[in-house]
């Protein structure tokens, strides 16, 4: 019986190493700080995409509202940074010094109660995890306990993304409105706008990204990961095997929300502001496209998908701004029609077998001719 008990199989280990070399060595050495910061921005979406791999790829729960959780994480971080930037000394020209500038413009004279915890960094970090989890739990419990699933769930999450944007824009005095929360300066006294800070933040982000990859891989390899796959196929059979399907779906949705929120919080740090344009329907769908392009069953694919699509977006919209949306749409159609398993599927079907054959023929040259018929361990598992 060949049951794989290793944490990463051979091809996953190669993927892990390749990604680590690229993100830790090649990109920081070859890119200037402006481009490296762009990569950092792209990578914040990789967190969302990893969450979508678990929730959509494995659990079959398509969420078109991940921007909401990305935004919640991002806004939590932005609120802390904004409060730090709005010290009495910095805001003494306002009619009410000590509150964020947009509140002053909207005739608020007092900090709203829900802003108060964000004076504290530990509470902020806690909120980045808890706020999206609780929100996802409420949505998940309300939907999945009532057996709302599939396309209905997708539409509802999309509606929530739309509602969230409208809410943020409408409540200008509390949220900064359409401009978002801008002019962020320091994190616990450390200036995040300098090149050096951006460089350090990039590495912090990559370390966190690998932590998330490991966490996602851990979930995937537990029985819970297999139940998610089982649920996607035969929901009733899982139910009649004694599992509460709703609870497992809620878990997957909450996990995806947490991953998205970490990405959102890092986005705020890397880019220096947060606005409703990263919350709504369009960014949420783009996040699904990153996952689909990378391959919705592959954790590493999610990272590559986020990097490549965003890289294409930047370079295409630099030269042909109007064409990008068509490009994105075409990409999505191409993935759905031709490569349902995305880049990781192409890799597993076309590249991996060649590498295996190459390795096998090299081995057999030292041995006795054409004897080995190597099968990649774990390659068909995806």
């Amino acid at each position: 019986m060949i049951i794989n008990t290793r944490f990463f199989n051979r091809s996953e280990l190669l993927g892990f190493i390749a990604l680590a070399v690229l993100l830790f060595v090649i990109l920081p050495l070859s890119l200037d700080i402006f481009r490296l910061n762009l990569v950092a921005k792209y990578l914040t979406y990789a967190f969302v995409a990893i969450g979508l791999v678990l929730c959509w790829g494995y659990g079959g729960i398509l969420s078109l509202g991940q921007g909401v959780f990305f935004g919640l994480g991002g806004y939590c971080m932005a609120m802390y940074l904004k409060l730090e930037a709005s010290s009495v000394a910095n805001t003494k020209i306002q009619s009410t010094p000590g509150i964020p500038d947009f509140m002053d413009w909207n005739q608020l004279t007092q900090l709203p109660f829900f802003w108060k915890p964000f004076h504290s960094l530990p509470l902020t970090l806690l909120a980045i995890f808890l706020v999206p989890t609780i929100f996802a739990f409420i949505i998940g419990a309300a939907m999945f306990k009532r057996r709302v699933g599939g396309v209905y769930f997708a539409i509802i999450t999309q509606a929530i993304a739309a509602i969230m944007t409208i809410l943020i824009i409408g409540q200008q005095g509390y949220t900064g409105g359409i401009n978002g929360i801008t002019d962020l300066r320091t994190l616990h006294g450390w200036d995040i706008r300098t090149d050096q800070a951006k460089f350090i933040l990039y590495f912090v982000e990559v370390v966190l990204l690998f932590a998330c990859i490991v966490a996602a891989q851990f979930i995937r390899l537990t029985k819970l990961g297999r139940i998610l796959v089982a649920m996607r196929e035969q929901e009733d059979r899982v139910r009649f095997s004694g599992y509460s399907v709703a609870n497992f779906k809620i878990f997957a949705f909450c996990a995806a929300a947490v991953f998205a929120a970490i990405g959102g919080a890092l986005f705020t740090l890397e880019v220096g502001f947060m606005s409703p344009s990263f919350v709504g329907i369009v960014p949420s769908i783009e996040m699904v496209i990153y996952t689909a392009v990378g391959g919705r069953m592959s954790i590493f694919g999610a990272v590559w998908g986020s990097l490549l699509v965003n890289f294409a977006k930047t370079s295409l919209s630099e030269s042909f701004p109007q064409l990008w949306l068509f490009g994105l749409g075409g990409l999505f159609i191409a993935v759905v029609l031709a490569f349902p398993n995305g880049l990781s599927g192409i890799w597993a079907d076309h590249v991996q077998p060649r590498i295996d054959r190459l390795l096998a023929s090299r081995k057999s040259k030292t041995g006795n001719g054409w004897s080995s018929n190597s099968v990649a361990d774990g390659a068909p598992a995806e």
Partner: protein, 251 residues
Amino acid sequence: MIIGHQPKEFLLAVEALTVSFDGFKAVNDLSFYVEENEIRVIIGPNGAGKTTVLDLICGKTKATSGSIQFRGKDLTRLKENEIVQAGVGRKFQTPSVFEDLTVFENLEISFPRGRSVFGSLTFQRDKTVKERVEEVAEMIFLKDRLDTYADQLSHGQKQWLEIGMLLIQDPDLLMLDEPVAGMSVSERAKTAELLNRIIKDRSVLVIEHDMKFVEDIAHKVTVLHQGQILSEGTMEKVKNDPKVIEVYLGH
């Protein structure tokens, strides 16, 4: 009503069970009792409500009225997974196995441990699990296919796998919906042998059309017609019931 008059404790007591879909009563005021270790076969023409009865017991369909008592618990109030945890296992008519998982993983998921979210996160594939999976796999003729993905199995093998998944759950009441339908002659014989082995030490409720098979295994037969019981008793008695011959067996 008078407790002292009940002759013995039934494992399953279905009483005055009714379900109506938009006014159509698929099951109408149905009552029957299943004893411990009894093998009960439900037969009847198409549309008699046989599958609906199983759906009602396992919680897939909610009853309009009536009660289903199982070991003192009212199943009509429980959710599907709670009914499974109470000890009721259900096999569906079409094989429903997890095609993207291996035979081993299919059986492992059905192993009754770590059924909560956090229980399944911390679930360990230990010796007990492996031994039990291998033991069941041997019974269902799939011992050498443990690493095969279930979508590679034949129709009959999928049926066996699903039976194995129920077996590993070790239910007190096993419900099988047409277990030999769509099988080849040799598969059918093997399945009969398998079923004869697994129905020991538990109560079984079977829906089946194959009369030869029914005669082989049934302790008692219930004939359903239009959501109601037409006849009930031993196969011998049911076979000679003029009402049964008219609506079902006569054709």
